[in-house]
């Protein structure tokens, strides 16, 4: 799955993969796994009302996306994950010496982070849950990253920090929310807020 997704991120639409490209992909997957230090944290909160609200934090979760996704949820999880800063350094290194490899490492890193988050989420033991919703998607403000980061104390627990514009460093990191208590909901391409402009959709692919 990591290879398939990485190829997708690289804009692959069925072109022939040469032997060299295949071995570069394998090499990058090996190396990404080797230098990554995947870590994740999460914390569960009770939800109140349709807004919905987390009383424990004195926080209303903003926007339609969250409201719709969490409609039937009793709780929500704050979740954070990262592959660590060493991977980022490695990609930087290749950007100066081998840009092809840097681009592939970057795509493989994204695919690996997704796979790691899925696995972590699976292991938490909540079968009835929504998919991950992340700040920056649709009407969820990027600034919600700051709330999640503070509550999970990700600077200390994961080594993830935010720039003044709420972007995560290291880049291969994720901060998000998952609703608990809803009948399992899968992502649906046709209902995505990005459906008009999505490059994957235009190519007839799915991002997930």
């Amino acid at each position: 799955m990591i290879k398939e997704n990485a190829l997708k991120y690289l804009g692959h639409t069925g072109q022939q993969i040469t032997d060299e490209m295949e071995s570069l992909l394998d090499e990058c997957i090996r190396e990404v796994k080797q230098v990554s230090q995947p870590k994740a944290v999460s914390r569960r909160f009770e939800l109140f009302g349709a807004l919905p609200q987390i009383k424990e934090l004195g926080l209303s979760l903003p926007g339609d996306q969250i409201r719709e996704a969490f409609l039937q949820c009793s709780h929500c999880l704050f979740i954070g994950a990262t592959l660590g800063v060493t991977l980022e350094r490695k990609v930087k290194y290749y950007e100066k010496s081998n840009m092809t490899k840097a681009a592939v490492m970057d795509a493989v890193g994204s695919a690996y982070l997704e796979a790691y988050c899925d696995e972590y989420e699976e292991g938490l033991g909540y079968p009835n849950r929504s998919y991950r919703l992340c700040p920056g998607y649709g009407d969820i403000p990027l600034s919600l990253n700051r709330e999640i980061a503070r509550v999970l104390d990700v600077g200390k627990t994961l080594g993830v920090t935010l720039t003044p514009d709420h972007l995560m460093i290291p880049q291969k990191s994720m901060l998000g929310l998952i609703g608990i208590g809803t009948p399992e909901r899968k992502k649906q391409c046709g209902q995505c807020v990005m459906r008009e402009d999505c490059v994957f959709r235009k190519r007839g692919q799915r991002c997930y």
């Binding site: 040469t18 350094r89 950007e95 840009m99 092809t100 514009d165």
Partner: protein, 784 residues
């Protein structure tokens, strides 16, 4: 005096503040520092409990109390700092411990990652800490940087305190189970750097419990000549219902800490999950005095993530980042094409160098600023320690200040004025320094050079610089000019080694003016290593020279079981004859065969004129690649690979042009805009543009608006490309464009990035939008 007790008495720190506050009702996401003002009685009572339990130090409730983190608070960070310190003072008074308990200003991580991975600059980090310290420095007894995970931030903090106060500084970092901090620093690198910077106590806190921290604590105790402190958690954190709990009890904690207390720890306390009860038990178990430790002092230099220790084997210093005698590097420095320095550094790294010499001395350039800039660029990419090579004290100082780790400084000599200028820098920034055995000239006799070495060592001692921080250069003389004196150098090495210092030599000087220089170089190197040379400064790309060192390590029993030798030397025959295909250059570019393109281009140039080759082979091949990409026949990595291959072909062809004939197009300026840190997209566009012969001036990521405007005025480029990935940073793209217009920027501005569209580009005032790298090429070919 506190400083008189550190390292002698076994001092006790307090335990967790956060755990106590949570028990008192602090919620996740609340700002604990606000309680200094909202509930001073609570904070005072926690301090009192720790003092009553036997703590000698109480740490203020100011972990995140800096101007960045406290932006979200209802109070100003300075007010909270003052309140916190006043609470601690009140508690100390109430407990009647005014004469034997100490108030420590607690400083945690700033909360934003420093450059190069992050966006906060070293100077900004320095200012943030300085402002915290200045606010309360008269009312605290020491400053503690704790739970730190980034050594660079620690360095900025120590300098901020040391340059403005005489307060003792303590530093504890937090290590993961892989024995690295979250920023990748290892314990030895941490100790080596921080003790060099003059910390008064150092150690570990948080993350793990006393049992799990064992190997890290032992490692620190074995290398630190500075007193060591530890503040473990109450065991490993366990997650229950989304909340963190700790399971080690106070009794167990004291029992687990027992071993360390006997091993030479100077101060102990607790971190997450520990309570006054833990501290009471710890105090009861602790001896009054710190156990004495014996440290074998070794010469060590460090980057941020790697430490090189002298003595175990020969250390290779790569010599190639030095413009002397290198036309290409000179030109790159003059034209500020620093990428070439970085790629030269990478080549040496890959060839097996342990340390890289960096020299940017060139008439007509601002050496201190260039040195600072280059050091920062190199440490963004290279993990090897750097050897800062300059005769300009200001350049050395700037490089040492912004260097992340413990630097090697090249050099001082026997002249008093040189030592007086450089030794204070070595001492302040904790470097290792090379001493050249010359004063008014190079003495001919070994005995005279030995005397200068002695003088350097004695003078260094006056500055508090120990022998382990000095490496002596006995100076290589040229066999063609001073043949008789060559062996004086070897003799001098043997003599100097008896002084208990390591030695360095620039090896290749020996062969100037004689044929087959490599032969002389490697023979001389073998003799010098036999005499005791520890740090040859050589070209690591010379495989035979490197092989000589491998062989030496086997023969001198430094490479046990010949492991490295077997690894490095087994496949030399294979690498020499890398498989070469029979593709023509045109196809080599299309297939992106980077390894083969240089040799093939050279071969083609035997038959064709450079321009002919470009126009008839390279450009047509590139056009095929571009078209294949646009029609979806190939995808992104293949496009980049062909672009990189073409770039290499161009580099070979360029060498054939006579001086002055410039075939470069452009220049064009590129930047990822302020606030945006995602710059791989821009870097891909850059490589592809370069493959089409454009000179790209790359300003990097998170580029301040002013910097783009300055660059426009300075370089007067033919086009400016701006990249942004996030909707939020498109705003700063617009501002950058506005600013450029105010500067009467007449060149076209094109924009790109994930969230941009033709419409957005128009709305923010850009002249053009390009969807990807190939579209950028097509655009520039059309408009320039």
């Amino acid at each position: 005096m506190l400083l008189d007790r550190i390292g002698k008495d076994l001092l006790i720190f307090d335990g967790a503040m956060g755990t106590q506050l949570q028990e008192a009702g602090l919620r996740a996401g609340d700002i604990p520092e606000e309680l200094n003002i909202d509930r001073p009685e609570l904070i005072i009572s926690i301090h009192e409990k720790y003092l009553e339990a036997g703590a000698d130090f109480i740490t203020t409730n100011t972990f995140g109390c800096n101007e960045l983190k406290m932006q979200e608070s209802k109070y100003g960070y300075r007010d909270m700092l003052r309140a916190a310190v006043s609470n601690a003072n009140e508690a100390r008074k109430n407990a009647g411990r005014e004469h034997d308990a100490y108030i420590v200003l607690d400083i945690g991580p700033i909360g934003q990652l420093l450059e190069p991975m992050g966006t906060l600059t070293f100077d900004e980090a320095y200012d943030i800490v300085l402002s915290q310290v200045e606010t309360v420095k008269d009312d605290v007894d020491a400053v503690l940087f704790e739970t730190m995970s980034d050594l660079y931030e620690v360095k900025a903090g120590i300098l901020a305190v040391k340059e403005h106060t005489s307060l003792p500084v303590f530093v504890t970092m937090t290590f993961e189970q892989n024995r690295r901090t979250l920023s990748g620093n290892d314990p030895v690198t941490f100790v080596n750097t921080v003790q060099g910077l003059g910390a008064d106590m150092l150690g570990v806190n948080c993350s793990l419990g006393p049992a799990e921290l064992g190997p890290i604590i032992e490692e620190i105790l074995s290398v630190s000549s500075v007193p060591v402190m530890i503040q473990p958690n109450a065991g490993l954190p366990c997650l229950e219902h989304g909340e963190t709990h700790y399971h080690v009890t106070g009794d167990e904690y004291a029992r687990l800490m027992q071993g360390y207390l006997q091993d030479g720890i100077s101060a102990a306390g607790g971190c997450c999950g520990t309570t006054p009860e833990f501290i009471r038990k710890l105090k009861a178990a602790a001896p009054k005095k710190a156990a004495p430790r014996k440290i074998e002092k070794k010469t060590r230099v460090s980057s941020q993530t790697k430490t090189v220790t002298f003595g175990d084997r020969v250390i290779v210093c790569g010599e190639r980042l030095n413009p002397t005698g290198k036309k290409k590097l000179k030109l790159a420095l003059k034209e500020e094409r620093y990428d070439e320095l970085v790629s030269e550094a990478i080549k040496q790294d890959e060839a097996g160098a342990d340390v890289l010499d960096v020299n940017v001395g060139l008439p007509g350039i601002d050496e201190p600023e260039t040195m600072k800039h280059v050091v920062k660029l190199l440490q963004e990419v290279i993990t090897l320690p750097l050897q800062i090579d300059s005769s300009n004290a200001r350049a050395i100082e700037l490089a040492c200040r912004y260097y992340n780790g413990k630097p090697l400084i090249n050099s001082v000599n026997g002249k008093d004025e040189v030592m007086e200028a450089v030794f204070p820098i070595v001492k302040k920034y904790g470097g290792v320094v090379i001493g050249l055995t010359l004063d008014e000239g190079i003495p001919l006799k070994a005995e005279e050079r030995f005397e200068i070495a002695q003088k350097i060592i004695a003078k260094a001692a006056e500055y508090g610089i120990g022998k382990e921080e000095i490496i002596i250069d006995c100076l290589t003389l040229t066999a063609s000019a001073q043949q008789k004196e060559v062996k004086e150098t070897l003799k001098a090495i043997e003599m100097v080694k008896k002084l208990g210092v390591h030695t360095v030599l620039g090896v290749s000087n020996v062969s100037f003016g004689l044929p087959n220089r490599p032969l002389l170089n490697r023979t001389f190197l073998a003799l010098a290593m036999q005499a005791g040379l520890d740090l040859p400064i050589i070209n690591p790309l010379d495989r035979e020279l490197m092989g000589t060192i491998d062989a030496f390590h086997v023969l001198f029993y430094k490479d046990i079981d010949s492991e490295s030798y077997i690894r490095n030397q087994s496949n030399t025959a294979e690498t020499k004859t890398a498989v070469q295909t029979e593709f023509p250059l045109h196809d080599i570019i299309i297939h992106g065969l980077k390894e083969e393109v240089e040799a093939k281009t050279r071969k083609e140039l035997e038959k064709k004129e450079p321009l002919e080759l470009i126009n008839e082979v390279i450009i047509p091949a590139l056009n095929v690649v571009g078209k294949d990409y646009e029609t979806g026949k190939i995808f992104l990595p293949q496009l980049i690979q062909s672009a990189e291959t073409t770039k290499k072909a161009f580099e070979v062809v360029k060498k054939c042009f006579s001086a002055g004939a410039n075939e470069e197009k452009g220049p064009v300026l590129m930047a990822t805009v302020e606030g945006d840190i995602h710059d791989i997209g821009k870097n891909i566009v850059k490589v592809v543009l370069e493959s089409y012969g454009y000179r790209v001036i790359d300003l990097g990521k998170d580029v301040k608006i002013e910097k783009v405007a300055e660059a426009w005025n300075k370089y007067q480029p033919k086009a400016i490309g701006l990249s942004a990935l996030m909707t939020t940073t498109v705003v700063s793209m617009e501002k950058t464009i506005q600013r450029l217009r105010e500067e009467d920027c007449t060149c076209p501005i094109w924009v790109g990035g994930a969230v941009l569209t033709e419409d957005i580009a128009k709305n923010i005032g850009a002249d053009y939008y390009a969807e990807d790298a190939m579209a950028s090429v097509a655009l520039l070919e059309r408009i320039i």
